[in-house]
């Protein structure tokens, strides 16, 4: 195992985030605050409690998930797309390091960044609402696993994309709609029955539900289903990454 290399990539990526701290941290915090103002204060004042939790508190886990998913994907996809775009990737590809180590470096850094971001948003939310976390360990588990899984997804997108447009396409067309329709801002019970069934096909629902359960003990689907879903996601992403490196797809002509 070439740990020096993993460390080099990881630190390099983290340093890049350090230089762009403003855009990495401040902007998600600001947008989260805006969500609170709009959804929590404006809409929340008209919605009663959801299953015994105030609406403002109810949306916190969903908001964190929303940020976690989008930031993981964008961090990781950009992290690998950029060296591919500028050509500096040649060095990584010619180094004595395995695929696993490359992924560990890039995805590890992206996941760390978004996990930290998730915690920062949690802290921000604390200013607006009273938070209780029933199962802190499970909360962290969901947070970390989601960060890793979606960073892997971002990594895949970054390798697949051969233009900036494509880099934006998947997050814009798939990730964002799925998260907005994933029960971040509402309980699935609030939907008409037909839509409830449709919604269950949305994998993000399971993530949000499980995460919310770790806060308040309420969930749309069973926690087991949520956990299984997270691991299925993780397994699929890992399989795709494995395939990419085995075939050299878009990396080694």
């Amino acid at each position: 195992m070439n740990l020096q290399a993993v460390r080099a990539i990881y630190c390099f990526e983290m340093a890049r985030a350090g230089r762009t701290l403003l855009q990495s941290l401040v902007s998600p915090v600001i947008s989260t605050s805006l969500y609170f103002v709009v959804f929590g204060a404006a809409i929340g004042s008209r919605i009663q409690e959801v299953e015994g939790v105030s609406y403002g508190a109810f949306i916190v886990p969903g908001l964190i998930m929303l940020m976690l998913l989008t930031q993981s994907v964008s961090n990781a996809s950009f992290g690998i797309f950029f060296p591919k775009f500028t050509g500096t990737i040649y060095e990584v590809m010619s180094a004595p390091i395995s695929y696993f180590e490359i992924v560990l470096g890039y995805v590890g850094a992206a996941a760390s960044k978004s996990a930290v971001l998730g915690l920062v948003i949690l802290g921000t939310a604390n200013f607006f609402v009273d938070l209780h976390i029933l199962h802190p360990f499970m909360m962290l588990l969901f947070l970390v696993l989601t960060a890793i899984t979606f960073s892997l997804l971002g990594f895949i997108i970054g390798i697949w994309a051969d233009s900036f447009e494509k880099l934006q396409l998947v997050p814009l067309l798939i990730i964002t709609p799925l998260t907005f329709l994933g029960g971040s801002f509402y309980s699935i019970d609030m939907l008409p029955e037909v839509w409830q069934a449709v919604t269950l096909a949305n994998p993000v629902v399971y993530l949000v539900s499980g995460f919310r359960w770790s806060f308040y003990g309420i969930s749309d689907v069973s926690v087991t289903a949520s956990l299984i879903m997270v691991f299925v996601f993780l397994a699929v992403s890992l399989a795709v990454v494995n395939w990419i490196f085995r075939t050299g797809y878009r990396l080694r002509p």
């Binding site: 070439n2 080099a8 630190c11 500028t86 040649y90 060095e91 080694r252 002509p253």
Partner: protein
């Protein structure tokens, strides 16, 4: 990937490897590359690089130089064939193989917002070496980059960026260094400095493989020269031998009166007329005065005198490597 053994090794490669020789540091057998586009960039390449030599790979644009280097360094997958780096297969034992290699790519690429120091330090880590700031300091100083170490790469000139790429390649103390057109876009004075660095590396035992379009560079630096054209190695030879063997010399006489044809008295000389008969050209092998059918220049001049031909001026010219190269490439097209 399959690893067929070479069926027919090219005469050029064979002639470069006499029997009693230490194991080559790079051994390429039956290497070919067909890109997904269907283009065949390399055709059955067999090549050995000797330990500690400077090997210059010459070839016109699109000949396959970068493709060959990229396969050896692990950037491109070979279609067939095998590469061994110091005995390690570059696919099955890629860690051992790649750890020995430093690569300076042809394209200028850089992390625009990184500093020189950080980017070179990153390279060392990437190759699995423990941090060694003293070594990086030495490398930066030898490439006259020490003063720029805190600069962001985006603030450097093209020639400086090229040297940063060299520093990155040297950061992990490679035993083999690939330089893909290292002096493209580098001014003359700096080019000399870079040659100096390369010579020092060689003196310290590093094997160097460089590609170049500047023939003078190969002429000046290389121990051996390989010419590649349309994906085939057409020649591999010691530089000295190459220049001797192919470097014929010409004696040119500027005549006072144009001739219609070479007089019969001089017919046994390899003479030809040029520029409408006002120039007489004699082609001979300067390296071997006793070559068959060759007489001393003075004898020729006496015979010309005796034939009643008067000349106003004369000069001799040795073909440069460039001409040899151009001829080779043209011949094959």
């Amino acid at each position: 990937m399959s690893h067929p053994t070479a069926t027919a090794s090219s005469p050029a490669a064979a002639s470069s490897a006499p029997a009693a020789e230490p194991a080559p540091v790079i051994e390429i057998t039956g290497l070919s590359k067909r890109y997904d586009s269907g283009f065949e960039a390399l055709k059955q390449i067999d090549l050995e690089i000797r330990r500690g030599e400077i090997f210059a790979l010459l070839g016109p644009n699109g000949a396959g130089k970068t493709t060959l280097i990229s396969i050896i360094c692990g950037l491109v997958n070979a279609s067939t064939g095998q590469v061994k780096v110091d005995g390690h297969d570059n696919v099955s034992a890629y860690r051992a193989a790649r750890a020995k290699i430093g690569l300076v790519p042809q394209e200028l690429t850089s992390d625009a917002f990184e500093t020189v120091w950080n980017t070179v330090r990153f390279s060392r880590g990437l190759f699995g070496r423990k941090p060694d700031d003293a070594h990086i300091e030495r490398v930066l100083k030898s490439l006259s980059l020490w003063d720029k170490r805190k600069n962001k790469l985006i603030t450097l000139s093209g020639g400086m960026k090229r040297r940063v790429l060299i520093a990155k390649a040297l950061a992990h103390e490679p035993e083999i260094l690939f330089l893909d057109e290292p002096t493209a876009g580098v001014d003359v004075a700096l080019r000399r400095d870079m040659w100096e660095v390369v010579r020092e590396l060689r003196a310290s035992g590093v094997t160097i493989i460089l590609t170049t379009h500047y023939i003078e560079e190969a002429e000046e630096m290389a121990d051996r020269i390989g010419v590649i054209n349309r994906g085939e190695i057409v020649l591999v030879r010691e530089k000295q031998a190459l220049m001797r063997q192919l470097g014929s010399k010409q004696l040119t006489l500027q005549l006072q009166q144009p001739l219609a044809s070479v007089p019969p008295a001089l017919a046994h000389y390899p003479l030809s007329l040029d520029e409408g008969g006002s120039v007489l050209v004699y082609t001979y092998d300067a390296s071997d005065p006793n070559a068959q059918g060759q007489v001393p220049i003075s004898t020729l001049l006496n015979d010309i005198e005796a034939a009643g031909i008067r000349f106003k001026d004369l000069h001799t010219k040795q073909s440069s490597l460039e001409e040899i190269f151009v001829n080779l490439v043209r011949e094959r097209q």
